[in-house]
């Protein structure tokens, strides 16, 4: 099926997620859609699959204009999307999931469903136990189930969003074989959203590259990796000179750490951060860097390995224990994970201070908050509530609440959503902390920020941590290759 996207635009407030993107895709081919975080890949694919409407622009299937108001109508029109987290019902059996949304009668026809399922699974060499419960399946098997559902629903255009994250090498081969079969034998159109260059090179015929909401390049595959990396990340402006800084003793030591959640397992993490050092973690969202920060904060128990703080083993310490020992953690969602909507700035300060009396000295706390408001340039009053502040001021408030001295500061996206001025000010505050000897470990989606601000960098890619590179010696190309999963 031929797909034409014409001048698709989608704005979220001031953010231009899709800024006039036009793509032409022919049937019988596999297309790669590449781009770094926030480039607009997911937005574009959600528009094509009916999950959200565009602000303007047209979608043409076989040269006919179509309008999708839900994923169901998109599937009826022939477009199906396989999400990173499969849309299934874990407490149900495979066959129930298959029937869900397909058979709308009161009495379900299990016999026919089983026959259909059997037929499709054998055609694509899938191995699915129809009576297994979905929560007992691996992610790869759940993907297969979802694919079967989409194919049975009549999908001629299939969108796969990072399908190989979290599945085994064997399942990946099986998935790729079935994808080739779908294209070569049945003439379907496949779109692979990925950041793994090897997979794109291996599987795709053609690639589109998005950056900051715009289509910035397209190329036949195979092509040199360098070309793709350059299109994805662009050219970085020359780095501003930072004053050399004398690093102190090692503060954070991580040895042979293994962290895991339901989707991802990262093994063999070894790194150390010294007093006054800024250590950056790069990688696409969901590659394991956030889990590492949470493990350092004490919010995620590692499977194995050791985390030490100034030589002391703190692996088994709780979050609050580490907090008292001088570890601070600032999460990405400021108002969800850090500040309490409806609580005043003064109340936040009282909560965050290390020492408490039974009766709160409100006047003293308000005076202290007044002082910190001036020191941290917060636009707000001690009696303002945290949700009344702008994003930048919420970030300043979080910094104002940090205790001194601090041994280790862990940050997720410290400047996400901030304007240039607030970003610079945030880093000014962080540099002040490093002068005091705080070790800083941060993650960011902004590669430029990581290269510009860090002393050393580690890259996470699909659950693997790369070698550690020195920021002064690396280049955006090198990091781009590491993010793409190439050592």
């Amino acid at each position: 099926m031929r797909v034409d996207l014409q001048e698709i635009r989608k704005y979220f407030g001031p953010i231009r997620a899709n800024d006039g993107i036009s793509l032409n895709l022919e049937g019988g081919k596999i297309y790669g859609l590449l781009g770094e975080n926030g480039a607009g890949k997911s937005t574009l694919m959600k528009i094509l699959s009916g999950y959200q409407p565009p602000d303007s622009g047209h979608i043409l299937l076989d040269r006919q204009t179509v309008h999708f108001d839900s994923p169901a109508t998109a599937l009826a029109g022939g477009v199906g999307m396989l999400y990173q987290d499969p849309l299934d019902m874990p407490p149900f059996r495979v066959v129930d999931n298959y029937l869900l949304g397909r058979d709308r009668r009161v009495r379900l026809n299990y016999k026919a469903a089983r026959a259909e399922l059997q037929e499709i699974t054998t055609r694509y060499d899938f191995e699915l136990d129809l009576d297994a419960y979905v929560d007992s399946l691996s992610l790869g098997e759940r993907q297969q189930l979802e694919l079967v559902r989409l194919l049975a629903g009549g999908a001629n255009v299939l969108i796969l969003d990072e399908p190989t994250t979290g599945i085994s090498a064997e399942q990946k081969e099986m998935l790729f074989d079935s994808m080739r079969k779908l294209v070569l034998e049945e003439g379907k159109t496949l779109i692979l959203v990925s950041h793994k260059l090897d997979e794109v090179q291996d599987l795709c015929d053609y690639a589109f590259v998005l950056r900051k909401g715009k289509l910035v390049g397209e190329t036949e595959i195979p092509c040199p990796n360098e070309k793709l990396v350059e299109m994805m990340f662009g050219q970085v402006p020359a780095r501003s000179e930072r004053p050399a800084f004398e690093l102190g003793q090692s503060v954070l030591e991580i040895e042979n750490l293994t962290i895991a959640d339901y989707r991802l397992r990262v093994e063999g993490i070894n790194l150390s951060v010294k007093a006054g050092e800024v250590f950056g973690l790069a990688g696409l969202e969901g590659s394991g860097q956030r889990r590492l920060i949470q493990a350092c904060a004490g919010l995620l128990h590692p499977e194995s390995g050791q985390i030490s703080l100034e030589g002391q083993d703190v692996t088994s310490w709780s979050y609050h224990h580490r907090q008292r020992a001088g570890v601070a953690y600032l999460a990405a969602g400021r108002l969800e994970e850090g500040l309490v909507a409806g609580l005043t700035l003064t109340e936040h300060l009282v909560l965050a201070q290390p020492k408490h009396s039974f009766l709160v000295d409100w006047d003293g706390a308000r005076a202290e908050m007044d002082e910190r408001i001036i020191r941290y340039q917060i636009i707000g009053r001690p009696d303002s509530t945290a949700d009344q502040l702008s994003g930048g001021n919420q970030q300043r408030l979080l910094f104002a609440l940090l205790n001194t001295p601090l041994k280790l500061l862990l940050l997720e996206h410290p400047t996400r959503g901030l304007d240039v001025q607030s970003t610079n000010y945030t880093w000014e505050l962080l540099y002040r902390r490093r002068q005091e000897g705080t070790a800083i470990l941060f993650m960011s989606a902004d590669l430029d920020e990581i290269i510009e601000r860090s002393d050393r960098i580690a890259v996470f890619s699909a659950g693997k941590m790369s070698r550690i590179v020195s920021a002064s010696e690396t280049s955006v190309e090198e990091l781009g290759h590491l993010i793409g999963g190439q050592a």
Partner: protein, 375 residues
């Protein structure tokens, strides 16, 4: 130049808003009464008369008011911490059982006996509440379900005691234990069921809660927990400890309410010793919009309507549950209309200061979801 600004319509509406649900409830109940061929004015007058008609009735209202006030005051604490303490009913019953045990089994001079009764009642209520809290923090049972289950257990325990070990010697009626020794009962005001001592205790509890919420670090921690458990956890609040403490605090006051019930309203442990006062207290706090200063007034109003409905049947052939209907409908309308700003009348964001915890939100504790949000 001073100029008095004319009040705009939205401003006037906002001022009048609290009365809207009350009027709506009266209208709704009136329609119900008309359907059953009763003149609403007669029924409402009967309730008014039944509650405030003479001194004895007014004292009855006071006697009903005290345990309701105690439970509502306790609930302010749990609501502040974001907890739906439905189990308050069971906590009242356990308080009553503990007080009854002392009254039936121990012998001591009157004041000492009463002191022991009250302390044990508070402890029993607190422990019953702690059970709900631990079920929540350790067993991940939502406090609504844990509380409901323990309410039933408390009722079953009462029935067992009444019909079994604590059965009156003259033979088993299923209604209650034998009357307690006189010195075990709270000193009553003249010939009423109202104990002035209990009112003093209730106001002391009220003052204590006001101080706890306004002035103490503990109160601040509860407020933070109630609004955002996870952020509060990241800021250093140990949610498990505070949840258990908040529940026990409420349980203690509810237990005291149960003791007042059994030692002044009744003189023995009865089958329905609480009679739904815990649930009524939940309604009081909701109607007060979680504002502690409004709680005594609303509780008094509820007590008046409830006591006033008792003689309704004699006067109007209506069942005494009309009072329950009236109060219930009123709360329903308050919840329905919310505050005016939520409906877009007047400007500004909806008042979140005293809002009720969301049922789904309060089930998320940091310790029950160690793995936080997805990457």
């Amino acid at each position: 130049m001073n100029r008095i600004r004319a009040l705009s319509w939205p401003q006037i509406l906002q001022w009048l808003w609290p009365f809207v649900p009350a009027i709506a409830a009266l209208l709704f109940t009136s329609v119900l009464l008309l359907i059953f061929d009763t003149t609403p004015a007669v029924a409402f007058e009967a309730i008014f008369d039944g509650a405030l008609g003479d001194a004895a009735k007014r004292l009855s209202v006071m006697a009903f008011w005290v345990p309701l006030l105690l439970s509502s005051t306790g609930l302010i604490i749990t609501f502040r911490a974001g907890l739906w303490n439905i189990g308050v009913e069971g906590q009242i019953i356990l308080g009553a059982i503990a007080a009854s045990w002392v009254a039936l089994k121990l012998d001591a001079p009157g004041p000492l006996l009463i002191g022991v009764e009250l302390i044990l009642a508070m402890s029993a209520g607190a422990l019953w509440a702690a059970l709900v809290a631990v079920l929540k923090t350790r067993g991940r049972v939502h406090e609504i379900f844990g509380g409901l289950a323990l309410n039933f257990l408390a009722i079953i325990l009462t029935n067992y005691l009444i019909s079994g070990p604590w059965q009156p010697p003259e033979g088993g009626t299923f209604r209650g234990t034998a009357p307690f020794q006189d010195k075990a009962l709270l000193p009553l005001f003249e010939n009423s069921r109202f104990s002035p001592l209990s009112l003093v205790l209730a106001f002391a509890a009220l003052a204590l809660v006001i101080i706890a919420l306004r002035g103490t670090f503990w109160g601040l921690k509860l407020k933070a927990l109630g609004k955002n458990t996870y952020s509060a956890y990241l800021l250093g609040v140990s949610s498990e400890r505070e949840i258990i403490l908040a529940m026990m605090f409420c349980g203690a006051l509810a237990g005291l309410g149960g003791a007042v019930r059994t030692l002044s309203w009744f003189d023995s442990l009865r089958q329905s010793i609480s009679g739904g006062i815990g649930f009524l207290a939940l309604l009081v706090v909701m109607l007060a919009n979680y504002n502690i200063y409004a709680v005594p007034v609303i509780a008094l109003f509820f007590a008046a309507v409830r006591v006033g409905s008792i003689p309704l049947q004699l006067r109007t052939q209506l069942h005494s549950s009309l009072g329950g209907i009236l109060t219930g409908v009123m709360v329903l309308f308050v919840l329905l209309f919310g505050d005016a700003r939520k409906l877009g009348i007047g400007r500004g964001r909806p008042a979140e200061e005293k809002g009720a915890p969301e049922v789904s939100g309060s089930g998320l504790d940091p310790f029950s979801k160690e793995i936080v949000k997805g990457d």
